[in-house]
Amino acid sequence: MGEVKYTIMELMACAAARVLEDKKTVFVGTGLPMIAAMLAQRTHAPNLVIVFEAGGLGPQIPTLPISVGDSRTFYKSFMATSMHYVMALGNIGYYDYGFLGAAQIDQYGNINTTVIGDWRKPKVRLPGSGGANDVGSFCWRTIILMRQDKRRFVEKVDYITTPGYLDGPGARERAGLPAGTGPYRVITQLGVYGFDEKTKRMMLLSVHPGVTVEQVKENTGFELIIPEKVGVTEPPTEEELKILREIDPAGIVLGRAKKS
């Protein structure tokens, strides 16, 4: 039996898709989150309701959208509505999962997508919140997909665009955010992370095949909770890879595994 070849982005997409459940709702952002939601819908979660900030509610996405507001995001959907309507539904508790990307994250899952350096004199200006702050504020469970290294997994983010657990347990509620919400998973090229129930600090759940706990530590700029038993992420199946390559045939987001 030959080994299945896959890219790290394909592995991340699979790990993210598997978190999603059938008959639930998920609010998704541009790129990898879209792909993960599409994969879940085409595998174990056919009744997954995908939600887009610009107004698409429950599409059966035919091909990878370029924008979270383009016509693919309400293709064969059950409602094509407005941003106000979609966001308000989130605020009253209809969205089970939210999918975000991030440039920086800290141990409490606070996210920066606005600026590297000083806000007034930016070293790198990033696009800003977009719908991220909204998703991170009102979705029951937020999943973050991002690259991991010491400049991205940081002690203190340069700017909190989107709330994680802020400065610890109870902080979201104290700030007035909807109770019982917050970051749930972080998925990077190295592993899958959750958040400790009590301290709300980030915790390693599994490392990807071939990745060591030591590598994870070397690429984390804060103190990560590492349990005694750390699992290994299940690699993509051939079926999942086949679907991923239908979703993104040009490898725009996922890249292409080198033939060996």
């Binding site: 541009t30 790129g31 900030e53 610009a54 107004g55 698409g56 035919p62 091909t63 990878l64 959208p65 370029i66 924008s67 979270v68 507001g69 383009d70 016509s71 995001t73 309400f74 094509a80 509505t81 407005s82 941003m83 106000h84 966001m87 605020n91 606070n110 606005t114 806000w119 930016p122 070293k123 790198v124 200006r125 990033l126 696009p127 800003g128 919140s129 977009g130 719908g131 991220a132 702050n133 909204d134 504020s137 009102f138 700017y159 909190i160 665009t161 989107t162 709330p163 802020l166 902080a171 979201r172 509620e173 104290r174 700030a175 007035g176 955010l177 909807p178 040009a250 725009i252 987001v253």
Partner: protein
């Protein structure tokens, strides 16, 4: 006495405690509203709703008159240097590209731009030097295509100033407040973050729940352009597919220019009034521009021209490239029709129509990385 303060006045105390929670601390109604935090962003686009009412009374005729004109005239008439400007649609979906090119061509300056979800619209206007300040929910990015080289360069070099931050819904709520004539609207997003701290909103202690709640100030843009599928000569407009923020934005605007793929007879509006999303009296000008969202997506009609957007993204890596692009596609042409010929004419447009209907493969040069 607390009962006479600005807090809620309900008929009896019992109705509060029925829900197991009394408003404010210790079950007493708040007699003052406590401000917990003030955003340090610059408050722009705001006015007293009474002033807006007065403005509407004096400047928005209720008479049905033919408002058709060409884009040159509409921009000349309704866009002034220094205006607060916003675009309908979604940054690169259903946007008034004909208006954007004309604003650049007429060399409008010092615009304040609503970076609600701004993508290709803000990128071009910032790169062309038309914008001096921008309020940001989403800017300087091209979604799946990556970051926008030109507008990022302008903001990192300090040539354009980011004056405030918002979330997408936060920004939309500014128009939602304006659209119903109220000075601000409460929100539960943006709380606890720098997005709130760099906005021009604030956080107060809610007199009902006792919890912190955000206040988002209304935004009344000086001028708004919205591209629609069809409308009549008076401005009664229909949009197919998602509305994004346009339902509220149209009412928040002091001046509203509708660009449309098609002008339809007024009788058709009367036959299907449920499809009208913008009524004529909100509208100051109607401009017919078929393919008017090119190179951006127009749902159900044509998809993104990724070859053209790719050309822009490639050229805009340098200031010289930006100049080359504008010289060719904006300053070098007189009209939108001329521009459409330049980008590949009917052959290209037919391809974009097939692409929208999933009958042609996507060609995206930026994807080959």
């Amino acid at each position: 006495m607390a009962e006479h303060g600005p807090g809620p006045r309900l008929s009896s105390r019992k109705s509060y405690t029925m829900f197991g929670r009394a408003p404010g601390e210790g079950g007493k109604m708040a007699s003052t509203i406590e401000i917990l935090e003030r955003g340090e962003g610059e408050l722009l686009g705001w006015m007293d709703p009474d002033d807006f009412r007065k403005w509407v009374r004096e400047n928005k005729p209720r008479e049905m008159v033919d408002k058709t004109m060409d884009i040159k005239e509409a921009v000349k008439k309704f866009v002034r240097d220094g205006d607060y400007i916003a675009f309908g649609g979604f940054g690169h979906v259903r946007i008034s590209m004909a208006a954007i090119y004309e604003i650049i061509r007429q060399r409008k300056r010092n615009l304040v731009m609503a970076g609600k979800t701004a993508v290709h619209d803000v990128d071009l206007l910032v790169a062309a030097g038309c914008v001096s300040k921008v309020e940001v929910a989403y800017c300087f990015g091209h979604e799946l295509r990556g970051l926008s080289p030109a507008s990022r360069r302008m903001v990192e070099e300090g040539k354009v100033k980011v004056v405030s931050e918002w979330s997408n819904w936060g920004f939309q709520l500014r128009f939602a407040a304006a659209a119903q004539g109220i000075p601000w609207i409460p929100t539960r997003v943006m709380l606890g973050t720098d997005t709130m701290r760099k906005s021009s909103g604030m956080v107060i202690k809610c007199p009902y729940t006792g919890k912190p709640i955000g206040l988002i100030p209304a935004c009344f843009p000086d001028v708004v352009f919205i591209h629609v599928h069809r409308c009549d000569v008076y401005g009664n407009a229909q949009i197919d597919g998602i509305l994004v923020e346009d339902f509220e934005l149209a009412r928040a605007a002091k001046r509203l220019v509708i660009t449309t793929e098609e002008i339809i007879p007024h009788e058709r509006i009367r036959e299907e009034p449920h499809r009208t999303v913008i009524p004529y009296f909100l509208v100051d000008a109607v401009v017919e521009v078929p393919w008017g969202s090119h190179p951006c997506n127009m749902p159900y009609m044509y998809y993104f021209d990724e070859e053209h957007i790719g050309e822009w993204l490639r050229l805009s890596r340098t200031p010289e490239g930006v100049e080359e692009y504008f010289n060719k596609y904006v300053y070098g042409v007189e009209t939108f029709e001329e521009y459409l010929e330049l980008i590949g004419g009917i052959k290209k447009l037919e391809y974009l129509r097939r692409l929208e209907h999933l009958r042609a493969p996507l060609i995206a040069p930026w994807a080959q990385r």
